[in-house]
């Protein structure tokens, strides 16, 4: 494993164009380090999901480099790169034909872990994300939305990857369940100290979770700052985003 000074995800002048020439991301520079949560914030269509998918090479940038642990993603073996990175998305994407245990244990299974070790890991992860181990023999359609999201996070953590990419993972939940999961998620990160890149369009979520908030607009980075700096920023685009959420007190941060 790379030494901790190197453990990072960096975007160096990254652009992404569609084949027809449309620019989706323009010269992005960003970095995320261990123990941090880098939030990509922006309205829908601003390019957050695309940026995230460049990290695990579900998409490939048109120019610039994405570095994972100091190495260009282009030089990584694709499978190794992806096994190094957990990925959780709003749609969850659980395999409907696998039990919860098999969903969570799939990457360890592909990595040829022993059966008992996988079972123990599944048990451990279910506990970690606040689920009872009785559900391990159920199928995804037998779970509530909140339970499925938790399973999605557990699955992303399965082989203990140092990097976690999360694309609006709590987006489809009711406000109460969402705020439970957000709080638990913060505690989890304090324990696990991963490199997390977290996509959301929700300012509250960004302020609650982010150690850095990167605001994207139209594929361009508007600003990247701590939540405290973010709410005080005079940048007109940041102001506009913050004011869109005004009326709800954005300064009240749920963070200890």
């Amino acid at each position: 494993m790379a030494d901790s000074a190197q453990a990072a995800v960096q975007f160096c002048d990254v652009s992404y164009n569609l084949a027809k020439g449309r620019e989706i991301l323009y010269r992005l520079n960003l970095a995320a380090f261990s123990g941090e949560i880098l939030v990509l914030l922006g309205r829908s269509g601003s390019g957050k999901t695309t940026a995230l998918k460049l990290v695990n090479r579900l998409r490939e940038q048109s120019s610039g480099e994405v570095l994972v642990d100091g190495r260009s993603t282009r030089t990584w073996n694709l499978i190794q790169l992806r096994r190094h990175i957990g990925y959780a998305i709003q749609e969850v994407g659980l395999f409907p034909h696998f039990t919860i245990a098999r969903n969570i244990g799939l990457v360890p299974e592909l990595e040829n872990w022993a059966k008992e070790k996988i079972a123990a890991r599944v048990e451990e992860l279910l506990k970690l994300v606040g689920l009872s181990s009785d559900i391990s023999s159920r199928y995804p359609h037998q779970l509530s939305g909140g339970q499925r999201q938790r399973v999605g996070v557990a699955r992303a953590l399965a082989a203990d990857p140092p990097i976690l990419l999360m694309d609006e993972p709590f987006g489809a939940l009711d406000p109460l369940t969402r705020s439970d999961l957000q709080r638990e998620f913060l505690l989890l990160q304090q324990k696990l100290q991963k490199i997390i890149i977290f996509v959301t369009h929700d300012l509250h979520e960004a302020l609650l979770l982010g150690s850095q908030i990167a605001l994207l607009e139209d594929g361009k980075l508007v600003s990247c700052s701590t939540p405290e700096e973010f709410v005080r920023s005079q940048d007109p685009l940041v102001r506009k985003y913050v004011e869109a959420f005004a009326g709800t007190d954005v300064r009240k941060r749920g963070r200890a």
Partner: protein, 213 residues
């Protein structure tokens, strides 16, 4: 001679023609699966091939069956035995539902599931056999069911070129102008088609993925 007395006097022959019929259809179906499913998978991977492959399978299906048997007659090795020829022809007819349903089954798998699988570092091959094929299984089985039911009917015509099977009784009945003999071929073929439909339909349900809420 009425139907029942014909059947009881010829039950051994009817049984052996039924077995022959089943054999021709089974082998043709197996071959169609072996050729059609990989082709269906291929066109999910190479979109440029999709139109030409489906078009060719489509054209084959529009050739009248007797004409297709005739076209294949001069083929080396195949043409030597009517049974082989019938199997090849039925296989060709079965390709379209096989290819089309394999393609549709895989294309119908939720994009989020595929992306999640890729992001987890599944290889192309693992993605195919652990995720796509199991989730497409019931749609592919529906294609097999359609192909089998069509083949059982078409196989009766193969008797015209001497391939055997239940069609033999139907053609004999036609020349004898004897409905009992025609029915002795037609009824077992109809029952076979019906049973195949029910049996494969049952498999389809068994393999349907648990529904996403």
């Amino acid at each position: 001679m009425n139907f029942w007395s014909f059947v009881s006097q010829n039950r051994l022959e009817i049984a052996s023609l039924t077995a022959e019929h089943l054999w021709i259809v089974s082998i043709a179906t197996l071959l169609a699966i072996v050729v059609g499913v990989p082709l269906g998978v291929l066109i999910t991977r190479k979109p440029a091939l999709r139109k030409p492959v489906i078009a060719i399978a489509n054209i084959i299906q529009t050739i009248p069956s007797l004409a297709l048997f005739g076209f294949l007659l001069p083929a080396p090795w195949i043409g030597e035995r009517a049974g082989r020829l019938a199997i090849l022809a039925l296989m060709l007819y079965s390709l379209l539902p096989m290819i089309r349903n394999t393609y549709a089954g895989i294309a119908g798998v939720d994009r989020a599931i595929i992306e999640a699988a890729r992001a987890m570092g599944l290889t192309d091959w693992q993605l195919l056999y652990k995720v796509e094929l199991p989730l497409a299984a019931s749609v592919i089985l529906a294609g097999i069911r359609i192909a089998v039911v069509i083949s059982i009917g078409l196989a009766t015509i193969a008797a015209a070129i001497g391939a055997g099977g239940l069609g033999e009784l139907i053609f004999r009945g036609l020349t004898m102008v004897n409905n009992a003999v025609i029915l002795a071929g037609a009824i077992p073929a109809a029952i076979m088609a019906l049973l195949a439909d029910v049996l494969i339909g049952w498999l389809e349900e068994r393999f349907a993925p648990p529904r996403e809420a």
